[in-house]
């Protein structure tokens, strides 16, 4: 019963994505499509980051590092899968094959970013507040410097898989939003399960949570791994949208942009994170003319928000589907 419902919804969603993808290709200029894709990628970033920064209340300033790991791992996997399967400039894979290659690559991206989340989270999540923020910032810089100094991955000039035309651009509307919907659903389910409740308890009072038999360090590391893996997928989609990735794509301002998204939407709210992500993607585009002043504009935006609405647009609440679209949940909560 539950599976037939899910299958129906999934098929309907995939069909809808397919149709929209076709319509965008046919009728909408590429500039607008790219902004829409950026919205989808940002949504994954924001929902991923929100799990650890919002729900668990552990302030990470280093998620650009996980995004970098995901981007490089995905690109590396896609490039090597392609040459392994005999594809080349004269033998371009069919569209469905491109998506498949990209998705396998994204799985690698998620795996490696999740691993990075484990390696960074396990030691640093014993710290709290400012200390955690500083340490995660440091780790992100370390990750960036490792990529800068790894010649096999292009060093400072960036990675394009040794191809003159750069990384294959496989990211399109269908795959961005398929992955976005999948990840947001998984993280949403996690957030509203007993696990999410335990994470929120950690945010509220860590000592009391520990006294309730919950291993708080393990829970925090778990949240960090899931969060990093999601952000890694976003990094992979980003890589195959841009066509080339440089270590400088993943500097601190990238982490700050992610934090701005979840602050705007409201810390701890999944739907808020999505709204914030779209907001940032659109305002970033609107501010294209003042490129070098973006960080300044961000700061002003944040200051304004903190004065007008310190809890973000949604606070910690969620937007909910209208009742007739909602499936009855088991249990009272």
């Amino acid at each position: 019963m539950i599976w037939t419902y899910r299958t129906a919804v999934s098929i309907a969603l995939i069909a809808a994505l397919f149709v929209i993808n076709w319509a965008l290709d046919a009728f909408v200029i590429e500039y607008v499509v790219r902004i829409i894709l950026q919205c989808g990628i940002n949504a994954i970033l924001a929902v991923g980051l929100n799990l650890i920064n919002g729900t668990t209340g552990q302030f990470s300033l280093g998620h650009a590092g996980f995004m970098a790991v995901g981007a490089y791992a995905t690109a590396f996997a896609v490039i090597h899968l392609e040459s392994g399967l005999g594809f080349s400039a004269s033998n371009i894979p069919a569209p469905w094959m491109q998506g498949l290659l990209l998705s396998v690559g994204l799985l690698f991206g998620a795996l490696f970013a999740g691993l990075a989340g484990l390696l960074v989270g396990a030691p640093s999540l014993r710290l709290r507040g400012d200390y955690l923020a500083i340490v995660t910032l440091g780790f992100a810089e370390i990750i960036r410097l490792i990529f800068t100094n790894t010649e096999a991955l292009g060093g400072a000039t960036g990675y394009s898989g040794g191809r003159p035309l750069g990384l294959p651009v496989y990211t399109n509307f269908f795959w961005v939003f398929l992955w976005a919907i999948l990840l947001i659903t998984l993280i949403g389910n996690f957030t509203f399960s007993s696990y999410g409740r335990a994470l929120r308890a950690i945010r509220e009072d860590e000592i009391a949570t520990e006294a309730l038999g919950i291993n708080t360090t393990r829970m925090k590391v778990l949240a960090s791994v899931i969060s990093a893996a999601a952000v890694g997928v976003a990094g992979g989609l980003f890589a195959h949208l841009m066509g080339t990735i440089r270590p400088d794509d993943f500097k601190m301002d990238r982490s700050v942009a992610m934090i701005v998204m979840i602050l705007i939407g409201g810390l701890g709210s999944v739907s808020g994170a999505i709204i914030g992500a779209i907001f940032v993607a659109v305002t970033l585009e609107a501010m294209r003319d003042i490129q070098q002043y973006r960080l300044l504009a961000y700061s002003l935006l944040l200051i304004g928000l903190m004065i007008a609405r310190p809890q973000g647009l949604l606070g910690s609440r969620e937007l909910r589907l209208p009742a007739f679209l909602r499936r009855k949940r088991g249990g009272a909560a």
Partner: protein, 264 residues
């Protein structure tokens, strides 16, 4: 002789130069209500923190029904069946009353993170089980009508009750109450006495309480242990401890000896 529910043997906890507790030993029999008393700073809460695993004692052993627990992390100790409340109430303020209780069942769930993400049937069943149990407890403590409220919006007395309900969600064998009567007026403290006995009988608990309200302690506790400056000064039946000269000295100060006064 049955195994004691809780046994502290020569426990010491040192912070820098301060021996917060220094060689304290006591035993609590199963289903006993046991009082730990002493003046401010005597080391009562430190002893609690050693039992519940917040601190690791430098010396001595703690056993829970014969099982050694000193030095284990708090989450493990809680999972073994030792639940506690806190002197300054520690609820999850931005979570609902129901959620506060349900969280305490998290350690008992039988599904992994992946099952949670894919929302498998098992997780719905477990969710149902936790919610049902949490509601039962809320009903017992007459908090069920407030289940959907944020716990920070509850009045003080209800917050104390909620903290106990949350602790009981762990199905503990031993309940540690840190100053349950703090901030209560004499009428509330009066009803607290009956509630503590009722808790013990209803949930088949062993209860250890730290308390300053002597009326409560002397009335409800079957055994009392008094510490001062980290050391045991008296132990036994409430009346015995109450009349013990060392206890009177600790609380009220020594009778002034005129000869020492003259010398200084």
């Amino acid at each position: 002789m049955t195994t004691p529910a809780l046994k502290l043997d020569n426990i010491a906890k040192i912070f820098g130069g301060l021996r917060a507790i220094d060689g304290v030993s006591f035993e609590v029999a199963p289903r006993q209500i046991f009082g730990l008393i002493g003046p401010n700073g005597a080391g009562k809460t430190t002893a609690f923190n050693c039992i519940s695993g917040v601190y690791t004692p430098e010396q001595g052993t703690i056993s829970f029904f014969g099982q050694s627990i000193a030095g284990r992390p708090p989450s493990q100790i809680a999972a073994l069946g030792i639940a506690r409340t806190f002197q300054n109430i520690r609820l999850f303020g931005d979570m609902t009353v129901l959620e506060n209780v349900m969280v305490a069942g998290h350690a008992t769930i039988s599904f992994g993170p992946l099952a949670a993400m894919f929302r498998l049937r098992k997780q719905a069943e477990e969710q149902e089980r936790l919610a049902t149990r949490a509601y039962e407890l809320l009903r017992i403590f007459e908090l069920d009508s407030l289940a959907g409220e944020f716990s920070k919006s509850l009045p003080y007395g209800s917050q104390r009750k909620l903290e106990i309900a949350r602790a009981l969600m762990l199905n503990p064998k031993l309940l540690l109450l840190d100053e349950p009567a703090a901030g209560m007026n004499s009428r509330e403290a009066d009803s607290l006495k009956n509630q503590i006995r009722w808790l013990r009988d209803t949930f088949d608990l062993t209860i250890v309480l730290v308390e300053h309200n002597m009326q409560v302690v002397m009335n409800v506790c079957e055994q009392v242990h008094c510490v001062d400056h980290g050391q045991t000064i008296a132990s036994g039946e409430p009346l015995h401890v109450q009349n013990h000269p060392a206890v009177r000295t600790a609380y009220l100060g020594a009778d002034v000896d005129e000869s020492t006064l003259r010398q200084s």
